[in-house]
């Protein structure tokens, strides 16, 4: 029992350590690369264009590359525009260009209840407040991002608790701390490039557990349906026998 508890604590510590260290390292490296070369911005545009239908790609590849180049060479504004295109613009346009209106409404309803409302309520509004307050620091940005990573470890933990029917000690308060801190990070005026990178990676980290959980759920659902299909239809067989 004690060994199992120790194992859980150690794995938890490893995850937390990874979330902190990896987050700070990745944020620092990406921001440095983008400040020097602007490569992150260009890469983001290329990724964003892939989301669009094939016939629209050449136009927007050229148009958005021009936009990012036109935005300057300081590494701040281009990256901000590229992030905005990759995270918000391209997915929206992919829906707009591909789906008929009825399906667009359904997708809009689903997405409007999900990530955007989360971002607006917990990121955009507090970020404005933080921007007005003028909070800015590299260290703060790195820490905030790592808090966000931490919060997703916590979310994954809650899922595992339910799935495995076991109770773990998860850093629940981190979840509540993460959102306003991330909001501060994304709203800092002077370091938008760094905070933009943080936001982008944060969203990726947020989506990764969700995607993996969705995949697990889908796989289990498929297995259950297969099992149900293989089982002989007892009730209907009895009815048929009775009828004959």
């Amino acid at each position: 029992m004690r060994a199992a508890f120790l194992g859980i604590v150690l794995s938890l510590l490893r995850q937390l350590g990874l979330a902190f260290v990896a987050a700070i390292l990745v944020a620092a490296v990406l921001s440095a690369v983008d400040r020097r070369t602007g490569a992150v911005g260009r890469w983001l545009v290329r990724v964003a264009v892939v989301l669009l239908p094939r016939d629209s790609r050449p136009r927007f590849r050229e148009e958005w590359a021009e936009l990012v180049e036109d935005a300057g060479r300081t590494g701040v504004r281009p990256l901000r525009q590229a992030l905005s295109l990759a995270v918000i613009g391209a997915p929206r346009m992919a829906i707009l260009l591909r789906l008929p209106l009825s399906r667009r409404i359904r997708v809009w309803l689903l997405t409007s209840l999900g990530i955007p409302s989360y971002l607006i309520a917990l990121v955009a509004v507090p970020s404005r407040v933080a921007a007005h307050a003028g909070w800015e620091s590299d260290l703060v940005v790195g820490l905030m991002f790592s808090f966000f990573g931490l919060s997703n470890v916590s979310r994954l933990g809650r899922y595992l608790e339910v799935k495995l029917n076991r109770s773990f000690v998860w850093p629940e308060p981190a979840w509540w701390l993460a959102n306003p801190f991330l909001a501060i990070a994304t709203g800092v005026d002077g370091s938008r490039a760094r905070s933009g990178v943080c936001l982008f990676l944060g969203i990726l980290i947020a989506l990764t557990p969700c995607a993996s959980l969705a995949w697990v759920e889908w796989r289990e659902g498929r297995r259950a349906r297969r099992r149900a299909a293989q089982r002989p239809p007892m009730a209907s067989a009895a009815n048929t026998d009775g009828g004959v």
């Binding site: 136009r59 927007f60 050229e62 148009e63 958005w64 590359a65 021009e66 936009l67 180049e69 036109d70 935005a71 901000r80 525009q81 590229a82 992030l83 905005s84 295109l85 990759a86 995270v87 918000i88 613009g89 391209a90 929206r92 346009m93 707009l96 260009l97």
Partner: protein, 103 residues
């Protein structure tokens, strides 16, 4: 048809300032204060409804030392629609604004 969000209104305001003028992406972003991720879907939607037209700039990129830009402008139909839409929105806003009268 098109939801008149504050962002769409902002874009229309800028385009209506001088309907004959052509605008490219970064100019519109700077003028409206809207980020590219929100601006391009709006432009795309307006274009699909025939309210906006766009064209590539005709330049020699090697001579100019930059890529060609894509310019946007309201169509005739778009101009009429934008004027009507903005007027009705102003009317709505006036109706909703409480009028304070001195006692």
């Amino acid at each position: 048809m098109i939801r008149l969000t504050w962002q769409v209104q902002r874009v229309l305001e800028v385009l209506l300032d001088d309907p004959r003028e052509e605008w490219y992406g970064l100019e519109l972003i700077q003028e409206t204060g809207i980020l590219s991720g929100s601006l391009y879907p709006i432009l795309m939607r307006l274009e699909r409804f025939g309210l906006l037209e766009s064209r590539w700039e005709d330049i020699d990129e090697t001579v100019e030392g930059r890529r060609r830009r894509r310019y946007y402008r309201l169509t005739g139909e778009g101009l009429q629609w934008a004027v009507r839409a903005m007027a009705s929105r102003r009317e709505q806003r006036l109706r909703l604004t409480p009028r304070w009268e001195p006692s």
